[in-house]
């Protein structure tokens, strides 16, 4: 069903309809680089912020309005879903996420609790609903979840990792237990995203942030079937964004698994990637987040280059290739939004 001419440009681009200017939003647009956010975080912990719908609403809406972007994204964390399935999650100060009871043996998969309802994550759906009510109709709300591979990496590594060697070794050692784990994470994620859509999320993004550490051969064997099942389980009328980093060699396999929009990081040329993927998908990306630390002239040069590469093809959503870095000047982010809205 095509949108009316007044549909927000972000939604139109997700559906590959022509837009007046290129829509833009930015991963981690609400975050540490903003003074308001740092001030709030000096008073409440990260998990507390995620679990308090009033506060999640405040940071989501403030960021979108302050920047003048074309979409808001729910303030939450991809790891929240690990709690109801039985993993003990903590955000240790300055150390990132820690899981105190990681999956180390195949038998640990059996102790995970299948998620039968999204109710334990009700605080997220409450936030989605409040954010949707607080945003102007012109600003669509993006819901999101971590993709199963990335969640499995955290669950097995017990936190961040450099080589993902424990997760990958688990996968190689016991493909059966890996399959059970991935199915369970896939089911939970589908349930969670459907609940977000019912609560008011208009677009859903899957963050497969670490999948770029896999060879194409392993991606196809150990991840792609689960991603396909996940996308098939999402509401057909809600656009989806399939995002990862370091995925230059996985893009076709990701597209085949699903997603109305494929997210690119900066390591791949946008035009070449889109040529490879064909016109049946929209494209999100793909400025290097570090470019936002550069002088405005360099930001303009690189942003215009990306706009040039997308020119003439409906369905480009401007974004970074990964989240905004904490050291990014807010003024540079606002300048980028203006540059993209000015066009080429």
């Amino acid at each position: 069903m095509p949108d009316s001419p007044e549909a927000p440009r972000f939604l139109k681009a997700c559906r590959r309809e022509a837009t007046d200017v290129t829509p833009i939003w930015l991963m981690r647009q609400a975050g540490r680089y903003m003074a308001d956010y740092r001030e709030l975080r000096s008073r409440v912990s990260f998990l507390e912020l995620c679990k308090t719908p009033d506060l999640a609403t405040e940071v989501t809406v403030t960021a979108a309005e302050r920047l003048g972007v074309d979409a808001a994204i729910l303030f939450a964390d991809i790891l929240l879903i690990l709690e109801p399935i039985g993993l003990d999650l903590e955000f240790a100060k300055g150390e990132g996420p820690v899981i105190h009871n990681p999956i180390t043996e195949s038998s640990d998969v059996d102790r995970l609790r299948p998620m039968t309802s999204a109710e334990p994550l009700g605080y997220v759906m409450q936030a989605v609903s409040q954010i949707r009510a607080a945003l102007p109709p012109s600003i669509p709300l993006i819901g999101f979840a971590g993709a199963p591979f990335t969640l499995a990496c955290y669950a097995i590594e017990g936190g961040g990792s450099r080589h993902y060697d424990r997760a990958k070794a688990f996968m190689y050692r016991d493909p059966g237990a890996w399959d059970v784990l991935m199915r369970q994470l896939t089911d939970a994620t589908a349930l969670y995203l459907r609940a977000q859509a019912e609560a008011g999320a208009q677009v859903l993004q899957l963050f497969d942030s670490w999948v770029g550490n896999l060879s194409p051969f392993d991606y196809k064997r150990f991840v792609q079937p689960h991603m396909r099942r996940l996308f098939d389980a999402l509401p057909a009328d809600v656009p989806t964004i399939h995002f990862g980093t370091g995925t230059a060699t996985l893009l076709e396999a990701q597209r085949d698994a699903g997603g109305s929009v494929i997210g690119l990081d900066w390591r791949v040329e946008l035009d070449e990637a889109w040529n490879r993927l064909g016109p049946e998908v929209a494209i999100q990306g793909n400025l290097d987040p570090v470019v936002l630390l550069a002088p405005i002239d360099e930001i303009r040069r690189q942003a215009r280059r990306i706009l040039d590469q997308a020119a003439g093809r409906p369905g480009h959503i401007f974004n970074l290739g990964h989240g905004i870095l904490p050291s990014t000047p807010v003024d540079h982010v606002r300048a980028l939004v203006e540059i993209v809205h000015e066009g080429r």
Copy 2:
């Protein structure tokens, strides 16, 4: 000048000549995964080991003999070259390399000392010469250096980094100072590698380990011209290996910069990469190091798949896509060497 029929298979493969079986060596084949190495390191620091030719010789030769590989690689570190140019390097226990006086301002580039002779790194050339004398003639010796971009990252970040944001921001902010820095690192590296070749290194590998964090656009502007100049400054009769990780989208640009052999990591399919690069280069790679943590059957499946992809093309050197991980069982490494020597 073609080798005699008795030339070691590793050298023949570097020159894209047919070999009886596929030659193999492994990045970090002398390292923490070996009990002998850990025992030695319990007595001497990493820098002390690098700077003591007798010890560097012992670990280099022991590893090559123990594994039955087709080449030995000098035991050293890519960051040693930073000391004579004026950076204060330390390998802090469990933390990796730390540079106590990193380059933070453009003006810091001026305080670097141009390297006019490789003499301050004489201990490396002494090790090369001793290793060459200790190895059987059938085992060629590889010398190596870090590529200027990767060295610049360490020099600016002051150590390892997740996003290389300081290094990349420096590059964007002051392209002139960046150019001076890269020229200086290029000159020093060329001098150092020429000295290694004179001391007995028969093949030279450039490790541009972090270059895969750049977009292709930035690689071509900020790195490629320096790499081209560097390869042009190396002895024409010594084969060179041009290696990086995460370089799936940079391969053609790397090939154009130089290298008899292009190193691939596991994120790219070997046959597709070689088709893109054409038959005028040899290929090194490309098993995921984490596969060595898998059961032997999985190691065999993945190794044979790579051999299949290279079949019928002279010039394949089997290797991992990056260094052996410390948790790797030695038996698995030896099994891989046997599997590769058995062939498909």
